[in-house]
Amino acid sequence: MRSSRLSALVLLAGAITGGLVLEAAEGPTAPVDRAIGVEAGVAIPAATRPGTLTSTWYCAGGTATEDGFADHVLLLANPTDQPRTATVTVLTGAIAPSPSVVGEAAGGDATTATTVAATSTTAAVTTTVAPPEPTVVEMPAQSRVEVVLREIVAAPLAGAVVEIDGGEVAVEHQITGEGGRATAPCSTTAAREWSFPWGVTTRGARELLVFMNPFSDDATIDIDFATDEGIRDTLRFKNFVVRGRSVVGAYIDEDVTRRGQVSAEIHVRSGRLVVDRIQTFDGTDPVFEGITLGLGAPTPAETWIFPDGKVGEGITEQVVVYNPSEEVAEVEVEVRLDDPETNGVPEPFELTIPPNRFSIVRLDQPDAEVTADIPKRIPDGVAHSLIVRSLNGVGVTAERIVTSSAPNTNLGIGATLGSPVAAPIWLFPGGGVSAERDEFLTLFNDSTTDIARFSVTALADGQTLAVEGLQDLEIPPGGRRVIRLSDHSGRENLPLVVEADGPIVVERGLYRVAGRGISQSMGIPLAVDVVIPDPVDG
């Protein structure tokens, strides 16, 4: 009995104690992973992988009138060898009246919004809008199709939902007006949060946010603004209503006036939206002239990559990093100069960004402590790439703004979010070269160890065209390569596919030759073998 008692006691107690010790040895439960859930197709518009049933693209901002300031055109590229059918549903709307006349119009009018309180017994009936009649657009294989929205509807603002019966396709949209032309990818997600790190509301500048609600129910939003004078609350953008299946624009400068830097963070309280920003400059400030189009960032990320960058005479470059979180972000902005052996490796810019605030790195200006004896950290005329990293895991959004003014002949402003992902394949539905227009591709190799080899193919009305001189080229590890497409092709209609054997980031610049117009934007990655760059090791 004694032996059985002892053995039983030891084994039973051992089993329980062993379990407790084992669990304790594993330590406390792993801290909540603060890694940001970056996903191609959400954090950045992305073409869906082959075999996908459908693709849906949301193109929010633009006008659909003959004399619109942002004539809205969709650019649909089908790089596959199968024809596709796109169903384009155009949503219309108008620009919300300024705060002084609130109450006189619908669309984004908070005071006339219908809100139905939740009850425990019945579902609230929202102001359901019947879906507009869609337009079917055939997309031949390996070609680009342009859809001009004013040819479908006439409306002060018009956005579009493009549903395509397959994957691997990409959609951009383009606006053209007095300020020039801007091209940017459409969104592949409707999100509840959008942040725009940059914005200007100074004299001569207008910042228009275009909210597209593709769903049947109304969406209600709040917008927080961060300016160089602190947080700015506006009455109009509290409970701002975007009706179902509509587009609403709102000029931020009517509420946040005369600010050289405005970050906007949009919180969708109910529903989901797609938000574009159209920023125009009339040249009142000679440095700022032109028009930009771009999506906000629906999710923060720890790494943002900008393949291209340059400062010099008449060229300014700044990076605005916005922290949409509730924690302080420790951020590093690394500038990788071309030919580092010659140009050196500049110290990264280190930023500490409080919650809901922004920080600006002006690459064209010397550091405050720089003396005449010490050269600028970023030398003029040396092209470079930029990598914005969050060092403490707090997600941020980052946008790069480049201006070109006299004495340059090409005038304008380009603003683009960085890419939070790297991928082997990138699509560019828009673009083309002509005597008046030039196009540049800048490719960045995300790998710090491997050379990336790439080729560029054009979609030429039903066939793919290997662009001469752009086949099987190399990008050094961690380096970049710039391609001037006019050196290789003269096609005005030049949708491109860039394929590499490793993760790269590609951006495109469209420049008016000797005139007003700069448009910079990231390409559209194909959601295959996508890599999320590591903010520390990457």
């Binding site: 059985s4 039983a8 006691l9 039973l12 379990g19 869906t48 049933l53 017994t121 509840r192 129910d217």
Partner: protein, 1070 residues
């Protein structure tokens, strides 16, 4: 006051005074037995019924022969004794007549022979063959009959061997036929009861009855074979207006051999059935109704008491008594008709003679029902015995503990009992009609998911039958089947350690089991399966223990050993099958429990019985699977995921091992009190000896295995799906309770063998731990609903039910399995989906079964949306009839529940990003989308619209079917609808394709098609009145009949074995 029966007073309907005439000897009377002289006193015939009398019989006869009464004749009715008694009679009472019967009809019927063979007697003295009247007894009785004008007179019955001890001096009676003895059996006779008094009944072994009354009432009730025939006679005598008295001066010694000649169980059983016969036959109609109600209430109380006290045979007595009488309903009617012929006194006057209150209830309340409970021992004697028991404290403690447990359980469940159990988790609504459930069971079509021809769960049939038995009170039935599991588990836990013989051990087991947080957390989490297993686990462990035949559960020669292996398998198999009705995985859990207890044998270095336990468990599991055929086949179909059996795993925050050890899988069980169960159960490991140590180790091993499985399940450490953690912890709860019981037993038996030291201190600590464990449950009882949500999804989703009344559609439920109010198919880890056809989930939705490849299309559609392949999930779901997508993120919406069970991943974002799903404004904790592309479940598509017949789930993506009207609106029965259909219409039925669906238009069958490659449809060329129905095959009905027979056979065998010891013994010997 009723008028007594007046001897000699002519009455219209009464009895004229009988002229005493010479006796007519019986045909069997000896020739020399003629009396020489004429009587000088009223003739008395002593009727002695001899039934294999013992050696005392001659003394009995001599006592009668020696009576000083001058006109006494003796008639011996030999009720077919094995040995003819004539010789004995001749030796002891040469003048006695002997009449031998061809068979033994019972005492009453035998005694009634006197009516046939005797004429002219004034009185009959009915005697058993084991009484010896004092020489003057007959004279005293006759004198008192005249003096008191009584028709029935009884003597003072004293102990045969010690006449100083009283046995009976008549007795009172309550209205339900339970006797109220007037003296304490064995009481010393000091003439304290010698006054002549009216009684309700006189001692049956010897009673003087006026012959005319006896004839008028038809003698003894021949429906009563033995026991209580005297009560019947006296009751009927009083109905006839006769007076019944006891004359204690007439002293009769009594051997009480009749009682000894019948077994205890048989004696008790006979009393129960005869008592009920008396009640049913002697009252007038209103009185019968009143007595029946009273008796039923008493019976229920007695059954409950018997269950608590572990006296299962008494439960059988109650039911057998009713069965015996109901089978003789014609005979009862005849008896009542006869009573009616001589009734002179209404019931209300008879009742005046009855004792107030309920003798039985008094016995119940005083715990006096036990082995000593029968008419021969009675209340008075048991009162003395029980007083001793009460003084010993165990019964009183047991009663106190039970009262406390009952109060706490009632208080803790008060809101659930009065306001209903919310339909959260597995606690689904049983529906409004048991008939619907039975139809669902018999039907060849299951509605779960997109429908299938897979077999229906047995539960549909079983709960349907229970619903019928409950007269359709499905709400009450649901409350009993959920909240009722708490007291049921407590009851079985109390009984589990019964074989130890220690009531304190039973109390400890009860206390530990009811204070373990598990069942309350199961309620709070909506885990019905865990609750049912909790209720049954003590029974399962008890059966396994008995199967092991290891003492104390298998005492040599005891009851346990008398049950064969097959008997154990049958009993455990039936129990397992019943649990598996709600919790299919119980079939596996039983084997796991056997393995756990078997491992305990290895640990305790006493493996005896382990193989028997495992064999029994395996046999029982196999039997349970067999009893659930054809449903159980569904779990073995190729491709069926194990999660269909175990339930899809939840992604809720896992508990750490410490919380699991404290059973803290819900709101109850926090430290430090949560550790008390382990402390309490540890005692026998330290001080237990012999079988107490062995069984404590078995209990602990069972617990450790259970803890380990729960821990592994929480960590996802095993490659197979495991049941919910609260189900896995049930064996741990009963294992610890068993160990605690063994601890108390060891405290009583083993501890005195040790010298004073740490063991005594440990015992104190263990006792304190048991007491401490009570505190949290006491606190939780204040909540009144054991922290269950106060409401459920039904209110928030009432609009869905309302719409569903008008329009046929499905609701797709997606969420964490722990939050879903129904069972679902696993979509990914921590995410499951399911459908309902009628809005709120009901019992039909509690078991999913195999998805047979078509219901999986729902999951495919969700996968497509989640992977970003479509923003038109509504269109994909349209052909499936899905109008609403409901994502519960809590057990119940706000404000009823606050604990979040959010869906993992980006599901809400995916759904919100769908262009054809409209989010609705509903309370927090619920996300609901309305499908704008919805297609009614029964829809009529106009001819121009083409429906693809292949393509699967994606085929619907390009179709906009949202304007398709619903058809066949009239529900004509189960799975049968009708209505007009227009010509050139494609009738679409959003159900998995099956040839069983039949559509007839104007009586003509329409060819079936297969829309989308999986659905069901019909091309209707000519319009008209249409009927759609599902045709269930005859084979299915045959299989279900076989299943029913299998259940009935097992039940019959078990009941026979339980109630028929002889059959059991024969079986054992065989």
């Amino acid at each position: 006051m009723r008028a007594p029966y007046k001897v000699g007073v002519p009455r219209v309907a009464g009895y004229p005074r009988t002229t005493v005439e010479p006796q007519t000897p019986g045909t069997d009377a000896p020739d020399d037995a003629l009396l020489a002289t004429l009587p000088i006193a009223p003739a008395v015939v002593a009727v002695v019924v001899a039934r294999d009398p013992g050696p005392w019989f001659e003394e009995v006869m001599r006592a009668l022969a020696d009576q000083d009464y001058p006109n006494l004749s003796i008639l011996v009715i030999d009720a077919h004794s094995t040995t003819d008694v004539k010789a004995q009679v001749g030796r002891a009472a040469p003048g006695a007549f002997v009449r031998r019967l061809a068979e033994d009809p019972g005492f009453g019927a035998a005694a009634n022979e006197v009516l046939e063979v005797v004429d002219g007697a004034a009185f009959y003295l009915f005697c058993h063959d084991d009484v010896a009247p004092a020489p003057d007894a007959v004279r005293v009785l006759v004198e008192e009959a005249y003096r008191s004008n009584a028709a029935v007179v009884g003597p003072k019955l004293v102990e045969w061997d010690d006449p100083r001890q009283l046995l009976q001096v008549g007795q009172g009676m309550d209205s339900a036929g339970y006797g109220v003895p007037l003296v304490e059996r064995g009481e010393l006779d000091q003439s304290q009861h010698d006054a002549v008094r009216d009684v309700f009944t006189v001692p049956g072994p010897c009673m003087l009855v006026r012959s005319d009354l006896f004839g008028e009432v038809g003698g003894f009730d021949e429906g009563i074979t033995d026991f209580l025939d005297d009560v019947s006679l006296c009751w009927r005598a009083q109905i006839a207006g006769a007076r019944v008295i006891v004359a204690p001066d007439a002293r009769v010694r009594h051997q009480d051999s009749l009682a000894l000649r019948h077994g205890y169980d048989e004696r008790r059983r006979l009393q129960a059935r005869h008592r009920l016969r008396i009640v049913l036959s002697c009252y007038r109609p209103f009185g019968v109704a009143r007595a029946v109600v009273q008796t039923v209430v008493l019976n229920v109380a007695e059954v409950l008491y018997a269950l608590v006290a572990g006296r299962r045979k008494r439960v059988g007595d109650v039911f057998l008594a009713w069965g015996w009488n109901l089978r003789r309903i014609g005979d009862l009617y005849e008896a009542r008709r006869q009573v009616k012929t001589f009734r002179h006194v209404p019931d209300r006057e008879v009742r005046l003679s009855l004792s107030p209150g309920s003798a039985r209830l008094n016995q119940l309340l005083r715990g006096q029902i036990g082995r000593t409970d029968d008419r021969f021992t009675g209340l008075a004697r048991s009162g003395r015995d029980v007083a001793g028991v009460l003084r010993s404290g165990t019964l009183r403690a047991s009663a106190t503990v039970w009262a406390t447990v009952a109060i706490v359980l009632l208080a803790g469940s008060r809101h659930l009992l009065t306001r209903g159990v919310p339909a959260v988790g597995e606690m689904v609504d049983l529906g409004s009609s048991p008939v619907d459930l039975i139809q669902s069971w018999t039907s060849g079509w299951r509605t779960a998911g997109l429908g299938s021809e897979s077999p229906a769960p047995t539960a549909f049939g079983l709960f349907g039958l229970l619903g019928v038995a409950a007269a359709g009170a499905m709400g009450l039935l649901r409350t009993l089947l959920t909240v009722g599991m708490l007291p049921l588990g407590a009851l079985f836990a109390y009984r589990l350690p019964g074989p130890t013989g220690s009531r304190w051990a039973q109390i400890a087991c009860l206390l530990v089991y009811v204070t373990v947080p598990l069942p309350y957390n199961a309620l709070a989490n909506g885990r019905w399966g865990a609750l049912v297993l909790y209720a049954a686990a003590p029974v399962i462990v008890g059966m396994l223990a008995r199967a092991s035949r290891v003492p104390p559960f298998g005492l040599p020669g005891g009851e346990a050993e008398s049950r064969s292996w097959s008997g154990n398998v049958l009993a455990l198999g039936l129990t397992t099958a019943l649990v598996a009705t709600v919790l299919p995985v119980a079939v596996i859990m039983v084997v796991v429990m056997a393995i756990g207890m078997g491992l305990g044998g290895v640990l305790a270095l006493n493996v005896r019985g382990s193989a028997r336990m495992l064999g029994t468990a395996l046999g029982a599991a196999a039997l349970a699977v067999g009893l659930h055929l054809p449903w159980s086949l569904d779990f073995f179909l190729p491709g069926t995921a194990l999660s269909v059996l175990t339930g899809a795993p939840s992604s809720a925050e896992p508990s750490d091992l410490a919380a699991i050890l404290r059973f803290e899988v819900g709101p109850l069980g926090s430290a430090p009190v949560g550790w008390s169960f382990l402390v309490a159960a540890a005692l026998p490991l330290l001080i237990g000896r012999a079988e107490r140590h062995t069984w404590a180790v078995r209990g602990w091993t069972l617990a450790v295995v259970s803890f380990a499985m729960a821990w592994a399940a929480q960590r996802g450490a095993l490659p197979v799906a495991l049941p919910p953690v609260d189900v896995l912890l049930v064996p741990a709860a009963i294992g610890l309770a068993l160990a605690a019981a063994m601890g108390v037993s060891a405290f009583q038996v083993d501890l005195p063998g040790y010298r004073f030291g740490w063991r005594q201190v440990a015992s104190g600590v263990a006792a304190a731990a048991v007491v401490a464990g009570i505190v949290p449950v006491l606190g939780a009882s204040f909540n009144g609903r054991w922290s269950m949500p106060a409401g459920d999804h039904s209110r928030a989703l009432a609009f869905v039910d309302l719409e569903n009344d008008e329009l046929p559609f499905r609701v797709l439920w997606v969420g964490d399995p722990a939050a879903l109010p129904l069972a679902g198919w696993e979509l990914e880890e921590g995410l499951a989906y399911a459908t309902t056809d009628a809005g709120a989930p009901q019992l039909e939705n509690l078991w999913v079964g195999s998805d047979d490849g078509r219901t999986g299309l729902l999951g495919d559609a969700l996968d497509l949306a989640q992977s970003g392949q479509t923003a038109r999930l509504g269109r994909l779901l349209a052909p499936m009839g899905v109008r609403y997508v409901v994502v519960p993120e809590r057990l119940a919406p706000a404000p009823f529940a606050t604990a979040a069970l959010p869906v993992p991943g980006a599901l809400p974002a995916t759904l919100a990003a769908q262009l054809d799903l409209e989010p609705l404004d509903v309370p927090d904790g619920l996300i609901v989308f309305r499908n704008e592309a919805f297609l009614p479940v029964r829809a009529g598509l106009p001819a121009p619209a083409e429906v693809p017949t292949e393509g699967g789930v994606a085929a619907a993506l390009g179709l906009d079917l949202s304007t398709t009207p619903a058809v066949l609106p009239d529900e004509d029965g189960h799975l049968r609808w009708s209505g007009p259909l227009e010509a050139d219409t494609t009738m679409l039925l959003s159900a998995a394709h099956s040839k069983g669906w039949e559509l007839e238009v104007d009586g003509e069958a329409v060819d079936i098609i297969k829309p989308f490659g999986w659905s069901t449809g019909f091309k209707v060329a000519n319009g008209g009145a249409a009927t759609l129905r599902f045709h269930t095959s005859t084979l299915r009905y045959g299989v279900l009949a076989g299943q029913t027979l299998a259940w009935l056979w097992v039940l019959r065998v078990l009941i026979r074995r339980r109630l028929n010891p002889i059959a059991r013994a024969e079986e054992t010997s065989a």
